[in-house]
């Protein structure tokens, strides 16, 4: 995965991810397993003001555990409790968001916003948009347009399922 993706899924700035990987000698390949563990380590660092190397070890052990809630500590002493199930849910949602809308690749120029066209219809036509079809569509009610979209969506899903 890219550094931007790693930053998105761990919820940390790219520089923090790079620095952590350097401190932990993990290289800069940003594998999904490493980033899952690093995301949990960052949470431990931020929540318990723990040193990153300790947090990394705890995170590794917690993720290997089969329980949703993992506890570290001795009887009668302080206990460190990690809700791994909750963390993994957040991590999965962050991954899904990053997959749908990938973060900008570092170094690439930010996308320019398109200039406002003086004549929107002319600009759309020049781009290749069928203005006659738009005008035809506007003769229908919003309800008819939504029903039509719904039918097209169903059809596409059926095609996808059968292929």
């Amino acid at each position: 995965m890219t550094l931007g993706f790693a930053s998105a899924v761990t919820g940390a700035p790219a520089k923090r991810v790079q620095n952590a990987c350097a401190v932990l000698n993990r290289g800069f390949q940003y594998s999904i397993d490493d980033m899952r563990r690093l995301g949990l380590a960052f949470w431990l660092v931020d929540s318990f003001v723990m040193e990153l190397k300790w947090a990394w070890e705890f995170a590794g052990q917690a993720l290997k555990d089969k329980n949703d809630v993992v506890r570290f500590g001795h009887p009668g002493g302080p206990v460190l409790e990690i809700d791994v199930g909750r963390f993994l849910s957040d991590f999965a949602l962050a991954s899904a968001s990053a997959l749908k809308d990938p973060p900008r690749t570092v170094g690439r120029r930010a996308h320019d916003r398109p200039p406002r066209a003086r004549n929107a219809i002319k600009a759309a036509r020049e781009f290749g948009i069928d203005i006659d079809a738009l005008e035809e569509g506007l003769k229908r009610t919003p309800e008819e347009r939504l029903r039509s979209l719904n039918e097209n969506w169903r059809f596409l899903r059926e095609v996808r399922v059968s292929s």
Partner: protein
């Protein structure tokens, strides 16, 4: 299972939301096909609970992510993750608590229009607000959609 059945399910679950994205565009005359439903929901504790309950019924799971991982979807998850990209039994659903270029849920609700499909009543983001959102997103993939929406607004102005 369809886009409208998802909307109907959310309405039946008394979730407060506004339809945004491609489905809202279609309501205003866009001819672009969309394969998911995007909503902006009110981020109040009660509404999060209602939305989480509905998503639970639909077995929602993060889209594109390896199946079978532990996943808890409740109001706490909704509180912690402001953007949800989900696959559900009813179809793909993206949930947000605000829209870039428009604002928070209350701004989005204020910039929405009523929509009716049969007995189903819900809110969709207005055409000017959709244009603002597309401009603010500024992604190359939004450029064609933006040109189409601006053309729709111009045609509507010409007609009135």
């Amino acid at each position: 299972m369809s886009l409208l059945s998802m909307v109907a399910g959310l309405v039946a679950g008394e979730v407060r939301f506004v339809v945004i994205g491609g489905v809202a565009g279609a309501a205003h005359g866009s001819r672009r096909l969309t394969d998911d439903l995007d909503i902006c929901y009110e981020p109040s504790p009660e509404n999060r609970k209602r939305l989480a309950a509905r998503l639970g019924l639909w077995h929602a799971y993060p889209r594109g992510v390896e199946l079978g991982l532990p996943f808890v979807l409740d109001e706490v998850t909704l509180y912690r993750c402001p953007m949800l990209t989900l696959r559900t039994d009813e179809g793909d659903l993206d949930c947000f608590i605000g829209v870039k270029g428009v604002g928070t849920y209350s701004d989005v609700a204020a910039a929405s229009d009523a929509a009716t499909v049969g007995a189903l009543e819900f809110r969709v983001l207005s055409l000017p607000a959709l244009i603002k959102a597309k401009r603010a997103a500024g992604r190359p993939k939004d450029q064609e959609a933006l040109l189409e929406l601006e053309a729709l607004a111009a045609i509507s102005r010409e007609r009135t």
